[in-house]
Symmetry: C2
Subunit: 229 residues, 2 copies
């Protein structure tokens, strides 16, 4: 095998995140976030999905297409460590790696065989933006992939802190029900960069055609505006 | 991102399997099989491994370089189903997929920082042959990757059957201790193609410079010869 191998984009993720801001930091954290895996025309083939319905979870191997950086650095600053400690890139899931490839375990909700875009996969819990190129889809094999005895290095010491979300009904009602559930999930995971803590700072999260504006203080995120974009 | 993305080989696996015959069918099945991840010269950098020691398990994303087939088929015959039932390629971990990329969870035994080949990773449980190209190494994150509630489709119905291994001491003693443990592990997982069951058929497995010859009958694998190659 030569030193460089071409990888074909076989599918793209379709979801409500048009920007990186708000995208969950790992797969599975926001289970109410639904996405669709839409195959590229030459890979639209229902036979290739035969038997996949029996699996509850899938692996997606995908490209960090929002990474503009062309070189790699041996160390990165993981957000979970507050952004001020350096770790080796291979000890992190950072996008700034020699090959900008992501790995995500998503839940398979259902196969949509009669979609106008060809047979699609409806999945939940993806941590990717709309249009993300996908290189491979594999079943999650519990007997090989689930390792309950695994230790997670520095990630074990830092349980993800969740925010309380104050989302007034009058604003939440502007959103369709399924986007409301997704947004509560996303907002509770604190989308702010880890080094920001100004309670007066206003943030805008773009999701599914809405701009959701909020502030955060004392462990509570307060939505103060929802605008249709 | 264009429709084809180049992937660089960053490392190669070094292990005792020079041929595919005998390689475990998934990662983690043969925990006594040790391998080394040796970085390519331009990726030899101890900083890139900082903090990796805290993780017990790693993901390897790698290339099926022994696959000669240049086209892909929507369906394949998984060995676990006896080789006579077809499944969609995305419902299997078969190497015959649109992008010939493998995904393996291995145990990190230790980082070898003072190796003549540069900083290396000693891992166990890999399901790859010697020289396999590696595209990425990621930490296994229990909070995102371990899904104890996952269901494994047709693989749940088919517990891996293990063989009893009769490895006479006089033959086992020809092998160094660590290769003996690895071979007991490998042989117990039944390396034969699933459609073969002739008790008189002789098999030869090449491992770590030895040719291990055996027959299988009635749930027992009997080693009858060990030759240094």
């Amino acid at each position: 095998m030569p030193d460089t191998v071409p990888m074909n984009v076989i599918a793209r993720l379709r979801c409500d995140f048009t920007e990186k801001f708000g995208v969950p930091r790992q797969a599975g954290l926001a289970e109410h976030v639904y996405s669709r895996v839409v195959f590229e025309p030459e890979y639209r083939n229902a036979d290739a999905l035969r038997g996949i319905d029996g699996f509850s979870h899938l692996w997606l191997i995908w490209g960090f297409d929002r990474v503009r950086q062309k070189t790699w650095s041996p160390t990165v600053r993981p957000p979970r460590l507050g952004g001020n400690e350096r770790m080796g890139v291979f000890a992190t899931r950072s996008p700034f790696r020699p090959n900008p490839v992501g790995l995500s375990c998503v839940r398979l909700v259902r196969v949509e065989r009669d979609d106008p875009d060809g047979p699609c996969l409806l999945v939940s819990g993806a941590d990717m933006t709309d249009g993300t190129p996908i290189f491979d889809i594999k079943p999650y094999l519990p007997y090989a992939d689930c390792r309950p005895d695994a230790s997670g290095g520095y990630t074990d010491l830092l349980p993800e802190k969740r925010l309380a979300v104050d989302f007034p009904d009058v604003l939440a009602e502007k959103l369709p029900g399924e986007k409301r559930a997704a947004l509560l999930d996303i907002l509770s995971h604190d989308p702010r960069p880890s080094y920001q803590s100004d309670p007066n700072r206003e943030y805008g999260l773009s999701y599914g055609g809405y701009d959701v504006r909020f502030r955060v203080s004392g462990g509570t995120l307060r939505v103060f505006e929802v605008l249709a974009i």
